[in-house]
């Protein structure tokens, strides 16, 4: 991969990690009427660790309209 490409991939990875930090730890907390059990929450964090160690490539995440195939990398 050329330098520009790997810088791009790195940037996408950072964006993903920053997104993850915000979406799971910040933002408005409302008690939705579907409560996740403690076990579910644990699962989320297990998934999180897997994600952090396994994200190698970053993807395009522009919005498509529903049903359209999303551009991927």
């Amino acid at each position: 991969m050329d330098n520009a490409g790997s810088a791009y991939a790195q940037e996408r990875q950072i964006t993903l990690l920053e997104t993850l930090d915000r979406l799971l730890n910040k933002g408005v907390v409302v008690a939705g009427d579907v409560t996740l059990s403690v076990a579910d929450v644990d699962l989320i964090y297990v998934g999180l660790r897997l994600l952090i160690s396994s994200v190698e490539t970053a993807r395009e995440w522009g919005l498509s309209t529903c049903g359209e195939v999303r551009a991927g990398k």
Binding site: L23, K26, V28, V29, G32, V34, L36, L63, T65
Partner: protein
């Protein structure tokens, strides 16, 4: 069983321009109530896996809307059984949601992480390599040295962090920060910045890079105002005051 996934809270009425595609490739729509609207989509009543595809899809929906109006971003995997339950939330939290929307109107969040090379201490590293072995006294000495190292690290970090933070606080309306969440991560900051001050903030980071050449600066954003919606939390939530 089908439920409703909540992405964010916006003021009403602004019509959504164009179709926005949400989680599970389903269209996002607005549930209006009393001058507010919930940005929602249909969803099974089970948590979405927090992986790259789903996190970025949620984020993309919020960012798409954020371009045209203030939005309060809601935490990932907030699910409701019915539209009535969403309306009940808008009804009950009307006041905090309105003030939070006023607070973030016209502003975006910028994220800044500052890394440093912590002052080295070869002795500490040797101690770690020595592992769990040794007598009780050796163990206690090791613990003591480790504690001293942490204390001096914090003191040194505090000084640098304050200098850096002073730079950016004036460029933002509000700021949030955490120091030394790991030894290398000197500062994690979030800044609520007027849209037309974003470029000034970027320039501020560029200048700081020159001035503090031993530090690494990672600037991200513009983000929805994730760090600046506390106060809009639902009273019944278990994370109140977090």
């Amino acid at each position: 069983m089908e439920g409703i996934y909540l992405y964010g809270i916006v003021g009403f009425p602004p019509a959504l321009t164009g179709e926005i595609c949400g989680l599970g490739e389903t269209p996002v729509f607005l549930v209006p109530h009393g001058g507010l609207a919930a940005l929602v989509g249909p969803s099974p009543l089970a948590p979405w896996p927090p992986d790259e595809i789903h996190l970025t899809r949620h984020e993309a929906v919020v960012e798409k809307v954020m371009g045209s109006r203030p939005i309060l971003p809601v935490r990932f995997n907030t699910l409701f059984r019915s539209g009535e339950a969403v309306i009940a939330l808008l009804d009950k939290q009307s006041q905090p949601f309105r003030s939070a929307l006023d607070r973030v109107a016209g502003k975006v969040e910028l994220g800044l992480r500052v890394l440093w090379e912590p002052p080295g201490n070869p002795e500490a590293r040797l101690d770690q390599e020595a592992g769990e072995g040794g007598s009780g006294t050796e163990y206690l000495n090791r613990r003591l040295r480790d504690q001293r190292r942490q204390t001096s690290l914090r003191a040194a970090g505090e000084q640098v962090a304050q200098k850096v933070q002073a730079r950016f606080r004036s460029l933002a309306v509000e700021s949030w920060m955490r120091r030394l969440s790991t030894d290398r991560l000197l500062l994690s900051g979030a800044y609520l910045v007027e849209r037309d001050r974003v470029d000034a903030f970027r320039e501020g980071v560029a200048k700081a890079r020159e001035e503090f050449s031993s530090l690494s600066f990672l600037l991200t954003g513009p983000w929805p105002p994730y760090h600046f919606v506390n106060g809009a939390h639902d009273d019944t939530g278990d994370a109140l005051g977090a």
